[in-house]
Structure formats: structure tokens, C-alpha cells
């Protein structure tokens, strides 16, 4: 590996920029942080040969809020809402990972009903996250219409969230030890109704894009990343699965009640943008399957375990990770036995996946950079924390 390790190095030797565009071997173009296609405040420095990308360097940190530092000054419960602000389009997943990590550390077990409710909400959120991804990704590639379709359907999910916990985006739906709120009247029916509603809608997105020649041309063979590169770069989530690795933490190391669910892990073969698109669409369908099963099996019982008023986990450390919509979202929590975590480290999937941008766009064209940033499905709130 060391001999080809250099191919992963993304720092650019920035030469004197050529003003004339003529011998454009070293044309340096700055994209972002204020750019409509960088999904927030990502800044990418592109080194171009004409329109061909020779290398990129990401400049991140514009949204850095020091979440990990804040965690050291909040109690375990007080820190819970902060994690919602990292990946704000999949806030429920963030909360799930954090709550489960602290529960493990504290040696509490969430009651089964809580696990099922958690699962339902998390999968709903996965669908919402993928829908938002699809809309913005298609918009980046120039298809305007899917954005409105996906946002229409995502709205229904947000309505369920709002009804459940009062918030739409940064939900803070879960508490350490379970969920704070019992489900509202008609929750199950509403969720099932949503599943029935959204299934044909996913076909609708497919109608617009999957066989659309321009979409296929824009995405097939673009931003290819091999399985080997994926693993070397620690890329997880749909990106890894589209490269052919059938690895999903929900299957590999089941948490919540995923072990009792029957679902498949969709994979792709080529590791290109088109496969990632198909994988995410298939994941949305699988999520709907999980939701249906979970609603069906939703057990009765308490929804919140007996949790001490003051959480003081024993001295020790834990690494717990879940399959967030973007990939492996891990929490490494060190407890010193006090009420506040000694150290909370978040292993953000977007941050790690973003590293793969360079290798995915080398040799491709500028327009592909935008497609690849879109297909990586990054959320800058999580990249910068």
C-alpha cells in the first residue's frame, strides 16, 4: 500500500495560477464556500487542466461549532439535543446513536417498545434524508423537478415527527433510556398510511430519472470508487455498498431491534454515481419495509426505562456506532464517573466520506465534481461539527 498511498493524498501543489487559460495545466479554481452546489459551506480548491480535474483540496471548518468541546461541559442528558445539530437532515439517527452509546455506558436497556419506536422514527428519517439527498443531487445535475417531488413527500415525514415530538428538523426525539413521549393516537395508522403513500412516489422519482438518458449519461461511470479505495478511505454507508460491499451496521452489528427485522442490504457493482443513486432508492424501499414490520410488531409496555435522575456512568469508555443514512456514525464516549462526559468523540460519516472526493473526481470533469459532491451526500453540519 505505501507505494500507491500517494494516490490518496489530496493536498495540492499550488503553482502560480495561469491567468490566460491557455496553457491551463495549472488553472486553479476555487469553488465555494458560497456556491450553490456545495451543499452549504464547503470550499473546494480545484486544480484543472482545461475542464479536467487534476486534484482537489477541501477546505472545511466554516461551520465548526466545537460540538465535542461543548459535550465536555454538559451533562449526558443536556448534550443530547446538541447531536441533532450535526447531521441536521438526519437528526433522529444522531440522537439514536448517542442515546444508545450512553445507555451502554450506563448499562441501561431501553424497553422493547422504545426500541421499536426508535426504529420507526429512524427509518422514517432515513427516508427523509435520502429524499432530501435525491432532490438536491438531481438539482445539482440540472433536473429541477425531483426536488419538489421529494420535498412534498418528505413533508409528510416531518409532519409525523412534528406530531410525535413537536419538532420537525432537530427533533430530539429520544432520551437516554428510551423515548420520552408515548406515541400519539393513530401513530401506527399514520405511519402505515405514509408508507402506502410514499411507495408509488419512489417509483415516480424513478420514472423521472432512472431511465432518463441524460441522467444515466451524467451519472454512469462518474465518480467511480473501487471497493479497495472505499475500505482504505474508510468510506461507509451507501457509497460503500454501491461499490459492492454488502455491509450495513444494521445487519453486521444489529442495534435497537434491527435483529428482528427482515430486510435486505442493497448493493451496487460499479461504485459509480448511478449505482449510488440506485442503492439509495433501494434503501428507501427497504426502510419502508422495516417500518411496516416494526409497526406491525410494535410491542406494548413502557417506553422509557428506569433511568436515574442524575446520570453518572461508571468510569470507562465506549464506542458505539449505528448506520446513519450517510454511513457509520460512531460515538466514542469516555466517562470519568462524573455527570459530564470526559470526552465525546463523534465519528462523522460525512467527514470521512468527503475525503474520498479527491480520488473520485480525479481525471473527471468540473461538472462531475458537482455530481460527486452531491452523490457523497455530505452535510456540512456533520463534517465541521
Amino acid at each position: 500500500m505505501p507505494e500507491d498511498a500517494t494516490k490518496y493524498l489530496s493536498h495540492l501543489e499550488l503553482g502560480e495560477p495561469d491567468q490566460t487559460f491557455l496553457d491551463s495545466n495549472e488553472l486553479i479554481i476555487n469553488m465555494g464556500p458560497q456556491h450553490p452546489a456545495t451543499h452549504g459551506v464547503l470550499r473546494v480548491i480545484l486544480k484543472l487542466d482545461g475542464e479536467k480535474v487534476l486534484g482537489t483540496e477541501c477546505v472545511i471548518g466554516y461551520l465548526h461549532r466545537g460540538v465535542e468541546k461543548i459535550a465536555e461541559h454538559r451533562t449526558y442528558a443536556m448534550f443530547n439535543p446538541y447531536v441533532d445539530r450535526m447531521d441536521y437532515v438526519a437528526a433522529v439517527s444522531n440522537g439514536l446513536g448517542y442515546c444508545e452509546a450512553v445507555e451502554k455506558l450506563q448499562n441501561i436497556e431501553a424497553p422493547p417498545r422504545a426500541n421499536y419506536v426508535r426504529m420507526i422514527l429512524t427509518e422514517l428519517n432515513r427516508v427523509a434524508s435520502h429524499q432530501l439527498w435525491l432532490g438536491t443531487h438531481a438539482l445539482d445535475i440540472g433536473a429541477m423537478t425531483p426536488l419538489f417531488y421529494t420535498f412534498r413527500d418528505r413533508e409528510e415525514i416531518l409532519k409525523i415527527f412534528e406530531k410525535y415530538c413537536g419538532a420537525r428538523l432537530t427533533t430530539h426525539a429520544f432520551r437516554i433510556g428510551g423515548c420520552l413521549y408515548e406515541t400519539y393516537e393513530g401513530f401506527e395508522q399514520e405511519v402505515l398510511k405514509f408508507v402506502k403513500f410514499v411507495r408509488p412516489k419512489i417509483d415516480e422519482y424513478e420514472d423521472l430519472l432512472t431511465t432518463n438518458r441524460i441522467w444515466v449519461e451524467r451519472t454512469r461511470g462518474v465518480g467511480v470508487i473501487s471497493t479497495k479505495d472505499c475500505i482504505a478511505l474508510g468510506v461507509t454507508g451507501p457509497v460503500l455498498r454501491a461499490s459492492g460491499v454488502k455491509w450495513d451496521l444494521r445487519k453486521a452489528q444489529p442495534y435497537a431491534a434491527y435483529a428482528e427485522m427482515d430486510f435486505e442490504v442493497p448493493t451496487g457493482q460499479n461504485g459509480d454515481t448511478y449505482d449510488r443513486y440506485l442503492v439509495r432508492l433501494a434503501e428507501m424501499r427497504q426502510s419502508l419495509r422495516i417500518i411496516e414490520q416494526a409497526v406491525e410488531k410494535l410491542p406494548d409496555g413502557p417506553i422509557l426505562a428506569k433511568v436515574p435522575k442524575v446520570l453518572k456512568p461508571p468510569v470507562g469508555e465506549i464506542y458505539h456506532s449505528i448506520e446513519a443514512p450517510k454511513g457509520e456514525l460512531g460515538y466514542f464516549i469516555v466517562s470519568d464517573g462524573s455527570t459530564q462526559p470526559y470526552r465525546v468523540r463523534v465519528r462523522p460519516p460525512s467527514f470521512v466520506n468527503l475525503q474520498a472526493l479527491d480520488i473520485m473526481v480525479r481525471g473527471q470533469l468540473v461538472a462531475d465534481v458537482i455530481a460527486v459532491i452531491g452523490t457523497l451526500d455530505i452535510v456540512l453540519g456533520e463534517v465541521d461539527r
Partner: protein
């Protein structure tokens, strides 16, 4: 004066041919005003249609169903601060939108809205149209260069490369249609726009159906190339907002920007007019030979009036469905007034002399409107091509296809 009018009404040639400078001037004014209004209407329609494609409502606030939105936009754009970047080349920056505007409006000199409804009939009409519309490339390049900024410059380079490459396929497709005009006993074709339509009349078929599928393929090539030529989706890379912000007019704002928009939409209508003239029989009504005869003529000549009455009916249905709250009183009255005006126009269009005079224009505009709708439809459906793919489509697909069609048309013309 009445003599003047009646003389005009009885003439059956364009004012340019008649050598009547006065009527030519009137026509110029009418056409330019009409195009400006059409651009505004197109703007409104595009926003509404696109919105409905995308399950939105579109403009709803200014006037009933946003009918006055283009006017509000125009006022906004006119009163906006006119920003010129300090490092820009002021003169060129000022000139570029004017060139694009002039290039797209000048083409209308030869567009035949009817046998007598064109400003003039140049015998190099189609050549003139292609030539003048290709001048807008200059405006694009100048705008990009004068802004003295990277994104506009890259956008301008892309855009001009695109326009120049698609012009070739477009020209070849046009030539194959022009070739069809020579299929008459005398063996000479014509480049005149009116002559082309008359050739279709004489050959009793629209060129789109001539030597099927050759004419159809040629129209297809032209229809694709014209979308690229006008920088519209899915070929709108110069304006790919996710890549180059707004392309060559990134630095423009206010009035100048609106001139670009005006020019773009006018060019869209102009190239659609070329397509309609060359392949879809221009001002000829549908089925001129299949459904021939006095009575069918009468039926088809009723269409314009019926259309306007239909629109008026829709407006009145809208009035009926308006909320009854006093807040909407003005809106309701406005919509009713609009409906009344539409109905009045419809009634006027039933008067026989007007009816006969106007139906050419009506059919022409109806056909152009189909292409306009296609533009909107493309925009709602397609993602954007990448630059190399766009060049590939232009050079490796459209150009060989156009050449092949041209060859086959020539062969077919000799054989049949």
C-alpha cells in the same frame, strides 16, 4: 386614409415587397411590440407551467393567477440599480446586451406570419435569419469578456462554443428542407421564408412528412439544435447555476439583465418560427388538402375566435371560483375584465374579413406555441448535459445524422 387602409387590406404581398415604407414601419412596430408581449406572456406561462409540472402554484399574488407578474417583474427590473463592475470594460459591457437583443429581434424582419404578414420577404430569408441569429454569439462573448470575471468568461466560452457547434447541424438540417423546395417542375428552390411555405403549399405536404421519415428526422435534428442554440435546458450549461452561477450574464443586473432575458426568449420564438416555417407549413392550416373545401375552410377559420372565447370562458369560471371575501374584490373584477376583453377579441375574430385576415397568423402562432411548450417541458424533465457530452451530441450525433438526411433527401429528390 380609408383608401390607404382598404388598399392595404386588399394587398396580398408583404409591405417590403410592395415597397411601402409606411406599412413596413407599422409592421415593424407591431411585430416588435407583439414579440415583447409574447416574451412577457411566455415568461408568465413558463413560470406557471413549470410550477404545475413541479406541483407548485407559481406566481399567484400579482393579479389573478399572477397574470400581472411579468409587468411587476418588468417594473422591478427597470427600477433596479444598474450595477457595472468597476473592473469591467464599460463600453463593451453596455453594448453586449444590445447586440443580443438586436440580433434576436432583427430576425423577425423575415418571419412570415402569413402570406402578407411579414415585414418583408428577402430572397435569402432563411440565410438572413441564421446569420443574424448567429450574431448573438458575439453578444455572449462580449458580455463574458467585458465582465472581467472568471465565471462569466468561462460561461461565455462554453456558450459560444456550444452555439457555434450546433449552428452547423442546424444549418445542415435547414439545407435539407431547402432542398425539398426545389422539387418542382422548374427545379429551382428558394431561400425565401415565404417561398418555402408556398413550396409546401404547392407540394401539398408539410416538409415534416415529406419523404417520411427524412423530413421528420431533419426536424428532429433542428429541434434539438435549436434548444442548444438558445442555451435552454437541457443544454443550458452556460447558465448552469450549480456550476457557473449564471454563466455569461452573472455580472449583469436590472435592465441589462432583462435585455438578455428578452433576447433569449425572442431568440427562442425566432428559432421556433424557423422550424414552423420550414417543416410545419408555416401559416398553413392543418390538413389543407385532406380536409379541403369551403366548409372546412370555414370551420378552421373559426378556431381563433373559438380559442379566445374558450379562454374567456376559463376566465369566467375562474371568476366564479374566486373567494367571495371583499379582499378579493379587485382581483375578481380584474379577472372578469380580462375575461371580457378575451371574449370581445373572440367575437371580433368571428367577423369575416378579420377572420380571413387573422387565421394565417393564428395557425403560425399556434404552431410556435407548441414549440414553446416543448421548451418548458424539456426544462421540467431533463437534467443538464455535461459539456463534453453536449459537444459529443452536437458533433458525433446530430452532425452525421444531419449530413445523412441531407444526402438521402438529395437522393430521394432525384428518384421521386
Amino acid at each position: 386614409m380609408p383608401d390607404f387602409l382598404t388598399a392595404y387590406l386588399q394587398s396580398n404581398v408583404t409591405p417590403g415587397e410592395a415597397g411601402s415604407a409606411f406599412w413596413a414601419l407599422i409592421y415593424v412596430l407591431i411585430v416588435f411590440a407583439g414579440i415583447s408581449v409574447a416574451v412577457m406572456a411566455m415568461n408568465w406561462l413558463e413560470r406557471k407551467a413549470l410550477a404545475h409540472f413541479q406541483i407548485r402554484l407559481g406566481p399567484m399574488r400579482v393579479g389573478p393567477h399572477g397574470l400581472l407578474q411579468p409587468i411587476a417583474d418588468a417594473i422591478k427590473l427597470l427600477t433596479k440599480e444598474d450595477i457595472v463592475p468597476s473592473a469591467a470594460d464599460k463600453f463593451v459591457f453596455w453594448l453586449a446586451p444590445l447586440i443580443i437583443l438586436c440580433a434576436s429581434f432583427t430576425t423577425y424582419i423575415v418571419v412570415p406570419f402569413g402570406r402578407a404578414h411579414a415585414i418583408t420577404d428577402l430572397n435569402i430569408g432563411i440565410l438572413f435569419m441564421l446569420g443574424v441569429s448567429s450574431l448573438s454569439v458575439l453578444g455572449v462573448v462580449m458580455a463574458g469578456w467585458a465582465s472581467n470575471s472568471h465565471y462569466p468568461l468561462l460561461g461565455a466560452l462554453r456558450s459560444s462554443a456550444q452555439m457555434v457547434s450546433y449552428e452547423i447541424a442546424m444549418g445542415l438540417a435547414v439545407v435539407s428542407a431547402v432542398l425539398m423546395t426545389s422539387l418542382n417542375p422548374s427545379g429551382t428552390g428558394t431561400l425565401s421564408m415565404i417561398g418555402i411555405v408556398q413550396a409546401q403549399e404547392a407540394q401539398q405536404t408539410w416538409f415534416v412528412f415529406k419523404f417520411f421519415p427524412l423530413g421528420f428526422i431533419a426536424l428532429g435534428v433542428f429541434a434539438i439544435a435549436m434548444v442548444a442554440e438558445t442555451n435552454r435546458a437541457p443544454f443550458d450549461l452556460p447558465e448552469a447555476e450549480s456550476e457557473l452561477t449564471a454563466g455569461f450574464h452573472t455580472e449583469y443586473s436590472g435592465l441589462r439583465w432583462s435585455l438578455f432575458m428578452l433576447g433569449e426568449y425572442a431568440a427562442m420564438i425566432a428559432v421556433s418560427s424557423i422550424a414552423v416555417t420550414l417543416w410545419l407549413g408555416g401559416w398553413l392550416r392543418p390538413f389543407p388538402h385532406w380536409l379541403a373545401g369551403q366548409s372546412w375552410d370555414l370551420v378552421f377559420s373559426l378556431f381563433p375566435g373559438l380559442l379566445f372565447l374558450g379562454l374567456a370562458a376559463i376566465a369566467f369560471v375562474g371568476v366564479g371560483r374566486m373567494p367571495k371575501h371583499p379582499y378579493f374584490k379587485i382581483q375578481t373584477a380584474g379577472l372578469a375584465g380580462f375575461g371580457a376583453v378575451l371574449g370581445l377579441i373572440g367575437v371580433v375574430l368571428f367577423i369575416p374579413p378579420v377572420r380571413d385576415r387573422v387565421q394565417d397568423i393564428f395557425w403560425f402562432i399556434a404552431k410556435v406555441a407548441v414549440f414553446m411548450y416543448l421548451y418548458i417541458w424539456y426544462r421540467a424533465t431533463f437534467p443538464r448535459y455535461r459539456f463534453d457530452q453536449l459537444m459529443k451530441v452536437g458533433w458525433k450525433v446530430l452532425l452525421p445524422v444531419a449530413l445523412g438526411v441531407l444526402l438521402l433527401t438529395a437522393v430521394a429528390g432525384i428518384l421521386f
